[in-house]
Amino acid sequence: MSALQEISLNIRNMKQLEYSVLARRTNQIKDELKKGVKKSYREVIDVSWGDPHRAGVKPLSFVRQVLAACIYPQLMDGDKLMVDVKQRAQMLLRACPGGSVGSYCATAGVPEIVERVSEYITRRDGGVPSHPENIYISSGSQWALTNILKVLVNSEASPRTGVLTPVPCHSTTILSLMALGAEVVPYYLREEQGWALDVEELQRAWGSAKEVCNPVGLYVINPGNPAGYVQSRKSMQEVIRFAAEKRLFLLADEVYQDCVFGEETEFVSYKRALAEMGSPLSDTVELASFHTTSKGLMGECGLRAGYVELVNLDPAVMKHIYSLFSADSCAPVLGQFALDVMTNPPQPGDPSYPLYMKETQHIRTSVAENVRRVEEVINSLPGFSCQPVEGGAFAFPRVFLPPKAIETAKELGMKPDTFYCMRLLEEAGVLSSPGSEYGQQEGTYHIRFCIMTPSEIMEEILRRLSTFHKRFMNEFS
């Protein structure tokens, strides 16, 4: 018998992802296709992750040229690379001990890069000052989030620490909270109002939470994941006032801030909204906001770089946060370099600017077109409806599953929307993920798929999805 039969209860309680059963089947299908088994499709289109490169979007040339030059500086001899690529690579290498990407760096990140990130934040927020000593670069934003949660969540305490989280919410944060022994307190977003965040709902959630735990944190995702909303300033102000009134630590997951569509929509950071509300809120509400290189136009998920900016935290607490991060050594240096490029892209006049503009424009236009097409197609199909996708990387349409389908799913021991996704995979070769992965109102079903793909791929997805959906609804009518 294993010495490890006893595992932390918190870990046991972490839910098994629906994704794993779909991923397993996907691998099998890929093998079958390789062996020549005939299917109605030649390849599986994987849009189950918020992973633009996996979905076919190309990396931006400038950042990759800079990375290559930093990894192998001999590339900078001669004229192979543009002047601005070389200058950036040289600047970044000078900032590293021994001039190598292979060195460790300071705990919170390469100091020059941290300074530049803080300048970027100040520009983004229309001048609201950002201080480098409040910023930690980490191996992806979830790593930083976990560290902040470690400080917040007292797993020994009774009652347990509670963190209010939205429904729907991407699963990684929920798993993190469970692993730490926190109580996840759900607050439901209003689907019929474009997934709006209702303060009354926050109040209800908080009130019910008080019975079972000690609510300490309020986690918001803006722009949303999986639901593609972008919060209005007014809504954000309500959230801030609520956090102040109930004495909640505000955790703002803003990793999709560069993925905003539609001419009317604007991303405002929680930091900016907070600052604009003035004293006393602006210098008392404690806030952690998270960003990353994984999303947006760069989509560099695999490089693992994100950051957290901490606002209004107690200096004594900051000291312990530093110790926590220091035991992780530091974030991957290449990822940090990508972060530098993200926050300081080529400017007009730079030799690399024309290509950079061309590539980013292309991605922007394709994704905007994808959004338009997704809403158009899905809303035209019976039993399918999609709220406007204002931001983020996903569509999260609602599927009105017929009772027969729900029953069949139950007989197979599957969640109804997992059943739908499995069939979509088998019959149409599209890998998406079920709404049950993220939480949803009881009796409703959704699927999530990434919309940051090349346009041709999105057309193909929509073609396959339409065909499949009509057939499925027919079969179970």
Partner: protein
């Protein structure tokens, strides 16, 4: 050194300084005269285990070193021309050169347009293509599966089989992690449970690499210290393991035994017999074995050889190889690669229950995946150029040069330090550090106590101020009560190392005089 860098450090250092001056944050009047409430997160309300986390390698002495760098760059006069960070096992920072082949392949992976560049050798190009084909969208920017890229795990498994003379390795037991540290912490998270007398206890060597103590503190696990024998070149005594375990059983539930081989900070390379003894002990006492083997290529002393725990386990026959649960860890940060900044690593898990593996998978998914460039680099480390391939000769030349330089520096360090009265250094058999024992005069100990400092921290701080050399005091790693040490890396280039060692010698003599 960049002004910005040091300014940032100063702000961070000052912000924590002022908190100690202020004591607990009090309610304060805000600008409009309203009483503002105390913060949600204060010293009293944060997770109490977080307050116990310390990591000496990046601790207060390093913060002071960075301040000194700033002062130097601003033209302040110091008794030294530069600050030398001999505190951290960072080879490239000290001038070690990367392996050309690895950097070529990684550059090709980053910017595949370079595949048409004739200045890159063919074998680098084919490696790059193979790696890119295993990445989503043929890009290192795509997430990989949480367990790591399939083809890389397979290559790691084959490497382990070759290394261990044919002992089979299942790729399914390989997990690619963000440096070895990530794997170690994840395993500890998995193991720690229970309350009070059933709280998980984890045995760690004293002295130890402080990641272990930090992780155990944060998890609220019980740290069970077993002392390595300094008189016998830091060897591991089974009797001492037994003593530590028996005592610990009275107040916790010991479930794991951690061992670092080659050792950090101590540099000892365990004999095969010792490894067998440890395995027998773990089997008998039903302990999960965690073997930190990140320095496996850093073996210098004659007569010493690296034996992997996995290999020895299997050679001991099915009684052990089918029952003892083992996790072994490796990394791209050390050995001859020194690529710390890539955060590449793997762990191999033996004899773990399927049920427990499922729990491990859940835990790993929270990280999403480890950095893909680090996974790609690990693939190259386990799959280096072979005889006959264009890059082979250069690769061997570079690897040999790096490892023999390290061996030379290990020997030099031991020699010079042992010429100093009051410093006694065990042979640096492996890894990247010396951990000499220092005699601190009683007067200095008293002085240190007055300042509320550990005597060896006091010593190291003085050394830093007077010579610019930044070391880590032994108290950061753990040591027998009443003994003092420091950890110094052997990484600076030989010429610089000679000067360094001399400065240390002179400082020690001065210090001893001053406090006699």
């Amino acid at each position: 050194m960049n002004h910005g860098t040091s300014l940032l450090w100063k702000r961070r250092a000052l912000s924590s300084l002022s908190s100690t001056r202020r004591g607990l944050p009090k309610e304060k009047m805000s600008e409009n005269g309203m009483m503002s409430r105390p913060k949600v997160l204060t010293i009293d309300t944060i997770n109490p285990t977080v307050k116990k986390v310390e990591y000496a390698v990046r601790g207060p002495i390093v913060q002071r070193a960075v301040e000194l760098e700033r002062e130097l760059s601003e033209g302040m006069k110091k008794p030294f021309a530069e600050v030398i960070k001999a505190n951290i096992g960072d080879a490239h920072a000290m001038g070690q050169q990367p392996i050309t082949f690895f950097r070529q392949v990684l550059a090709l992976c980053s910017y595949p347009e370079l595949l048409s560049d004739s200045s890159f050798p063919e074998d680098a190009k084919s490696r790059a293509c193979r790696i890119l084909n295993s990445c989503g969208g043929n890009s290192m920017g795509a997430y990989s599966a949480s367990q790591g890229i399939d083809s890389v795990r397979q290559d790691v498994a084959r490497y382990i089989e070759r290394r261990d003379g044919g002992v089979p390795c299942d790729p399914d037991n390989i997990y690619l992690t963000t440096g070895a540290s990530d794997g170690i912490v994840t395993m500890l998270k998995l193991l720690v449970c229970g309350e009070g007398a059933t709280r998980t206890g984890v045995m760690i060597s004293i002295p130890q690499y402080p990641l272990y103590s930090a992780a155990l503190a944060e998890l609220g696990a019980v740290q069970i210290n077993y002392y390595l024998n300094e008189e016998k070149c830091w060897s591991l005594d089974i009797d001492e393991l037994q003593r530590a375990l028996n005592e610990a059983r009275l107040y916790c539930n010991p479930r794991a035994l951690c061992i670092i081989n080659p050792g950090n900070p101590t540099g000892q390379v365990q004999t095969r017999e010792c490894i067998e003894d440890v395995i027998r002990f773990a089997a008998k006492e039903r302990l999960f074995l965690m073997a930190d083997e990140v320095y496996q290529d850093n073996v210098y002393a004659e007569g010493c050889q690296f034996h992997s725990f996995k290999k020895v386990l299997f050679e001991m026959g099915p009684e052990y190889s089918e029952t003892v649960e083992l996790a072994s860890f490796h990394s791209t940060s050390k050995c001859y690669m020194g690529e710390c900044g890539f955060r590449g690593g793997y762990m191999e898990i033996i004899n773990m229950d399927d049920d427990v593996k499922a729990q491990l998978t859940k835990l790993l998914s929270v990280r999403l995946c480890s950095p893909v460039p680090g996974q790609a680099l690990m693939d190259l480390v386990v799959n280096p150029p072979q005889p006959g391939e264009p890059s082979y000769e250069r690769f061997i030349k570079e690897r040999t040069a790096t490892l023999s330089a390290l061996a030379e520096k290990a020997k030099l360090t031991e020699q010079v330090l042992n010429t100093v009265d009051g410093i006694s250094c065990n042979p640096v058999q492996g890894a990247m550090y010396s951990f000499p024992r220092i005699t601190i005069p009683e007067k200095a100990i008293q002085e240190a106590k007055k300042l509320g400092q550990q005597p060896d921290m006091f010593y190291c701080m003085k050394m830093l101020e007077e010579t610019g050399i930044c070391l880590v005091p032994g108290s950061g790693f753990g040591q027998k009560e009443g003994t003092y040490h420091f950890r110094m890396t052997i990484l600076p280039p030989t010429d610089k190392l000679k000067i360094l060692l001399n400065s240390v010698k002179e400082f020690h003599q001065r210090f001893t005089q001053q406090y006699s």
